[in-house]
Symmetry: C2
Subunit: 263 residues, 2 copies
């Protein structure tokens, strides 16, 4: 299994604090030694950093931890390989362009019978179930919505339906973003916390680091962080329900789509 | 105008030496202060690093200069903005997936009437003539070759024809790669050098750095470097002819397509 980390904020915010804890799970406090990646949306642009080596030993990861990149959406992933060898091509997050937007995708879980998911516009570069499912999912969205929909809600319902279908094949915890929204779908494990004024202190569970957010924020900042497991031990994280899709924008939940029932 | 840097090698090779000289042109010895990027193909995988800040001041550029990433194809670009504001979305190289391969593209030059180039599968994220031309070019290749061709030569001819068309709109020096081949098309300025045994010494033109390649290579290594302007002043670089497309693989020229005549 792998671990996911996401952020949605209403002002460009760096993720150095959360990433410092998260990267310790990549071969330090956690078993996820098989690569890691992090993607940033910044002022209409997109970039990611990926490395097939353990994050705890990676000079690129140290750069990201120490060099504050201000972003309003972040997706990160550390990998413990199950399907697909350890390689750069199999390292999350994966990216494809749709409607002139870079879509970024990271998956935690494992799928059965994924080879049967039909591909159309997008094809995998590597050999993982995760990337295959991404190509299927984004191709389906593109087929149903050749143009960006003026009203996004039908697209969110289609995305939820596709996530539910993929959950039917196994474990499918997902972080997905298009630069406007951050989508989080929970199959088994995903938690979130929203930090806003009055800001307090937080202490990482995985590294000896404490931050006083008052020093780093203005009273209007809203910053939400999502992770497979809570990253701090003195804050009240909310665990998502299986089958739930949360649509985040500017640090707030814009929409919540729930499973129809039986899971 | 911008500057291009490319590498094709028969063994995974780091580009630290050439990049050390090249990055000085990004706000140091050159005027290209408007962002830079570098892309690496490594064992079937792809990653790029892009920064909208001057390369000579960028901590990410320093990381790339000091952290040897071994690759068999590299494309790098430093930007002096003409069309499109300075932003991450407008920072080369650009990437799109075709046939399950990540295609990487960097352009030096400026095009007129580029807005009229019809788009199909791929759409630009930013606002540059360069990215628009890439989306057009790759979309056209995809339309003509929906599947990867068993014989690549007709595809190379189609690529050359598209490059010639784009050169008709202005200046179009190009580096393009798909992980197998590195394509270099010259509109006005592009030079290359191939280093192989017996290896000698090279001295950078833009920084006080000298390297003895014998120390860093084996006798079978073949490493070719391409750049807008020669990077060293004690080696014999070959300047490409306008309208020429070179197809590189493993450090060697696989094919050379020339202009039909009038340019």
């Amino acid at each position: 299994m792998c671990e996911l980390l996401g952020m949605s904020a209403n002002v460009p915010t760096d993720i150095c604090f959360s990433f410092a804890g998260f990267l310790h799970r990549g071969g330090g406090t956690g078993p996820h030694r098989d690569g890691w990646g992090i993607a940033f949306y910044e002022a209409g642009g997109y970039r990611d950093f990926r490395d097939p080596h353990p994050s705890v030993e990676s000079p690129i990861a140290r750069l990201i931890r120490d060099y504050p990149i201000k972003s309003h959406i972040v997706i990160s992933h550390i990998r413990q390989a199950n399907v697909g060898q350890i390689s750069l091509a199999n390292t999350h997050p994966f990216t494809r362009e749709l409607w002139g937007r870079q879509w970024c995708y990271a998956h935690n879980g494992q799928l059965a019978d994924w080879q049967g998911l039909p591909l159309s516009f997008y094809r995998p570069v590597g050999g993982t179930d995760s990337e295959h499912a991404f190509c299927y999912l984004l191709g389906e969205l593109r087929r149903r919505f050749p143009e960006p929909p003026a009203d996004p809600e039908p697209m969110w319902r289609a995305l939820h339906e596709l996530c539910e279908q993929l959950r039917g094949l196994g474990v499918f915890n997902l972080l997905l973003a298009d630069g406007h929204y951050l989508y989080a779908y929970c199959s088994t494990k995903l938690a979130h916390i929203t930090r806003r004024a009055p800001f307090g202190e937080a202490t990482l569970s995985d590294a000896e680091l404490c931050v006083d957010f008052v020093e780093h924020t203005t009273p209007d900042d809203v910053v939400s962080v999502l992770a497979t497991e809570p990253l701090t031990h003195n804050e009240a994280w909310v665990r998502m329900a299986p089958g739930e899709l949360l649509v985040w924008r500017d640090g707030e939940i814009q929409a919540r789509l729930k499973s129809d029932g039986v899971s």
